[in-house]
Symmetry: C2
Subunit: 188 residues, 2 copies
DNA sequence: TAGCTCATGTAACGAGTTACATGATTCG
DNA sequence: CGAATCATGTAACTCGTTACATGAGCTA
């Protein structure tokens, strides 16, 4: 049920509409949590009904009207309660690793293209994170005196960067292994 | 629907009962996919009904009888089809990162214990993986002439090891950040 | 006028979690 | 005698994904 909490954090950082939240889940919050707009609208409705969020109709010019959500007192309390409750360290969920092990029962070399595609996707994501870091934290135009929120956002982003770097290095290892198996011949 | 495929891979590596599969999902397969016994029994039932798996009743002495599952022809074909179909690179799902960003709206120092607990859990997991690597791949008793299956299992394990190392280093970074914020005082 | 962005939703289904439930054997 | 291991399941619920659905304005 961490989507609720991710939404609370995002709305505390800045109130916004369901649509805007969906976009944030493709960007900053999306570094560590994903959600589609369908899911978000459903959860927003429930959280308003439960009194965790407030809604405000905002009329706009040249665009459809929107509903702006913000965190109500009980929402803030719910987040605080969750922050003080220990959670279990999660484990990985990695489809590609299943494929790699499965390749032993098929043609390992056939996986090379797929792994290269994934590596490229991770390279792109890394470039995107690094650009964001430069823009928001380490560049010349970044706000110099960092408050706690900034520091915490930055350390989370560094986690995303470390994850992408590690993944790219591992995929290089996977590719080297697949090439070695290919060279050894199908049957060795 | 990767649980189906993880089960196919595991049963191709070695046939076994639902109970045994559940244990493997706490160990080797669990490096990159988790599942509880409830989920496993449900999926096994469906896969047998769909003709992907075969079951055999095995009588045992001193223990309850068990059902041994193995992969049928169509199961192998289903795995091959999945292997040849591209999948999208996944993104992270990391509760702890949500908490870290949320800490800006509570007391960041209160998170220190929690983060240390997580770091210890990842240290334990890393030690466990390294022991497995020594036993099965790099130690003196490991099988010397590695076949494709062995090589692929090893590269996946190396991925798990790299992930744990990266995570531990990142959590150190997080802890340093939290300590810095604590020293700067609650309000800075 | 065709496609993109902004904006909000419903419905159906599949996947994952939590709680409940049973029962034999082995080891201390 | 109690706890752990081996062994199998059901039921209820929540979460996540996919498909469907609408409509205004702006831009090439």
């Amino acid at each position: 049920m961490a989507l609720d909490h991710a939404i609370l954090v995002s709305l505390l950082e800045k109130p916004g509409s369901g649509y805007e939240l969906a976009r944030r889940f493709e960007r900053s919050i999306g570094y560590f949590w994903t959600a589609t707009h369908q899911q978000i609208y459903r959860v927003l409705g429930r959280m308003v009904a439960d009194g965790l969020l407030l809604v405000r109709e905002v009329e706009q010019q040249g665009r459809p009207d929107k509903k702006e959500y913000s965190v109500a007192g009980p929402g803030r309390a719910a987040l605080a309660a969750w922050l003080h409750k220990p959670i279990e360290p999660e484990s990985l969920r990695h489809d590609l690793a299943v494929k790699i092990r499965g390749a032993a029962f098929d043609d390992p070399a056939a996986l090379i293209d797929e792994v290269e595609r994934h590596r490229q996707a991770h390279r792109d994501r890394l470039a995107h994170y690094l650009a964001g870091e430069l823009r928001d934290f380490t560049g010349p135009d970044a706000p110099a005196p960092q408050d706690a929120g900034q520091e915490l956002q930055h350390v989370v982003l560094r986690g995303g960067i470390a994850y992408e770097r590690m993944t790219i290095a591992w995929l290089d290892d996977v590719l080297a292994t697949l090439h070695r198996l290919e060279a050894a011949g199908p049957g060795a």
